[in-house]
């Protein structure tokens, strides 16, 4: 059998302007052996959910710097659940205050990565916690 890389969607929902960080993460995870679907800037929650569904990803990674995480992330988690994708792991990168983090975990987020997190740390977390689909 061939090995099955973990497939990760990297999306940047919301209206903030540049996606340098998300691109660096996407390339970094590629170099760590992940299959990374990169969807770019200004994703609506619906776009993220559709991409996650069609691509059948194991992980959805959301990069949010705009501060809009409390509106965007729970909405995306709800859409994923509505699509029957509650087995998809959701991780969030950005500046997330502790109180918000607790609420996001409640909404279904597994991992939250602050600004200092290295790509190796993210990769290690995903390898330990996500499993590729059969």
């Amino acid at each position: 059998m061939t090995d099955r890389p973990i497939k990760v969607l990297i999306a940047k929902p919301g209206l903030d302007g540049h996606d340098r960080g998300a691109k660096v993460l996407a390339r970094g995870l590629r170099d760590e052996g992940f299959e990374v679907v990169y969807t770019g800037l200004r994703q609506t929650p619906e776009m993220v959910a559709t991409a996650a569904l069609q691509e059948d990803v194991d992980v959805v990674g959301l990069s949010i710097l705009s501060g809009a995480h409390m509106t965007l992330v729970p909405r995306i988690c709800a859409l994923l659940t509505a699509e029957g994708l509650d087995d998809v792991m959701v991780v969030v990168g950005g500046i997330i205050p502790d109180d918000d983090a607790a609420e996001l975990r409640e909404a279904g987020v597994s991992g939250i990565f602050g600004p200092g997190t290295t790509i190796a740390e993210v990769a290690g977390y995903l390898r330990a916690n996500a499993r590729p689909r059969a």
Binding site: T2, R30, D31, G33, V36, Y38, A51, S110
Partner: protein
């Protein structure tokens, strides 16, 4: 999280569930089927067996060309145009996997974001992975799943470098080769290889200077290639297989010599398919310029070629799929628990020069029969 929610132990049963759901509009089931295909799991084989009779109605279009030529942008423009006509569109966009890490960056969706809420558009990115048997059977299988699920138009995007364009041609009814202007003369050699598989050549970035000039150069080049092809056919007479693109277009380098031979007396007619005479179009994918013409050209190719070149492409695809499966099966048989020791002994004997590779194959085939 991670593994598939319901663990159905029997692959045939799981395949039945997924195919029944996918062919009646369940997009998540379709996505999971495509994953099974990528993983080449037992579910994939059982599913493909069920789906194959339902496929065959879609127009399968391969889109290939150098990175940055505008393939993904063109796919997005074609989706928009096809949707205007009420046709549903499935897309498979293949990007290379790193042979070292196995990772891949699949970025084609970035250009295809406008269809998130349109259920008649389904876009799937795939890493090429390093399968024995290659891209051919995986992307052909993915395309036929979309076909069986009722998509009218199935677009298959692949980077055209080396082998992949031949593979894309083998998986498609119609192959579009994309060029961009001002790419310079140094890539003429690559173009010759790419052009051999083209049914339609598109010069994209028509808004850039040099687009029309590039199109004229390509037209001139294609006339030369077709002439060589015709002479080649005349010289060799009726022979050879019809496998995708092989020989039919000849090589540009051999041009002058072969053209001279064409002056000799007329030989018997050649039953092989005519060499392709691709149309050359200019598009501006970013604005949609030339896209209605491209879609019309695709439709024409399909309609005109239903009995000839599309039929040949379909035969070539059947051939590629069957041979790939045969190779996989033989490998699996020969390295399975029953035969592995024997196979390894034969391989070692070849390595030690105690057995020649031909005798080794005789023995391995013998062991399969026995």
């Amino acid at each position: 999280m991670g593994a598939s929610g319901v663990q159905t132990p029997d692959p045939a049963e799981r395949a039945r569930e997924l195919t029944d759901a996918a062919t009646t509009g369940d997009r998540r089931a379709l996505a999971r089927l495509l994953t099974a295909i990528e993983n080449r799991s037992a579910v994939a084989e059982a599913a493909l067996r069920r789906l194959y009779p339902m496929a065959g109605a879609a127009h399968l279009v391969g889109i290939t060309g150098a990175p940055g030529a505008g393939k993904s942008t063109l796919v997005a423009a074609l989706i928009a145009e096809a949707r205007k006509a009420g046709r549903s569109v499935g897309v498979v966009a293949v990007d290379p996997s790193s042979p070292i890490t196995g990772g891949a960056l699949l970025g084609d969706r970035v250009r295809m974001q406008a269809y998130a809420s349109d259920r008649d558009v389904f876009i799937r990115s795939m890493a090429s992975r390093g399968h024995a048997g290659g891209l051919a059977s995986t992307s052909a299988a993915a395309a036929s799943v979309l076909d069986a699920c009722g998509f009218d138009l199935v677009l298959l995007e692949t980077v055209g470098t080396g082998q992949s364009e031949v593979e894309v041609a083998a998986a498609a009814d119609t192959t579009v080769v994309l060029e961009a202007p001002e790419m310079g003369d140094e890539i003429q050699a690559i173009k010759a290889g790419l052009l051999e598989v083209a049914d339609i050549v598109v010069v994209n970035k028509g808004d850039r200077p040099g687009a029309q000039r590039t199109a004229s150069q390509l037209r001139a080049m294609l006339v030369a290639v077709a002439r060589v092809g015709a002479a080649d056919r005349a010289h060799h007479g009726p022979a050879g297989s019809t496998v995708a693109g092989s020989g039919a277009a000849g090589s540009v380098a051999a041009g002058s010599e072969v053209v001279d031979r064409a002056a000799s007396p007329a030989p018997a007619p050649d039953p092989r398919p005519r060499p392709k005479q691709p149309e050359v179009l200019v598009t501006t994918a970013t604005t949609g310029g030339g896209i209605p013409e491209l879609l019309a050209s695709l439709d024409r190719h399909r309609a005109a070629g239903r009995d000839s070149s599309v039929a040949a492409a379909r035969l070539a695809r059947a051939e590629a799929q069957v041979w790939a499966i045969l190779e996989d099966r033989m490998r699996a048989e020969l390295s399975g628990p029953e035969r592995r020791a024997g196979t390894e002994a034969v391989l070692r004997a070849v390595a030690d020069h105690e057995l020649d590779p031909f005798a080794a194959v005789d023995r391995l085939l013998g062991s399969l029969r026995g």
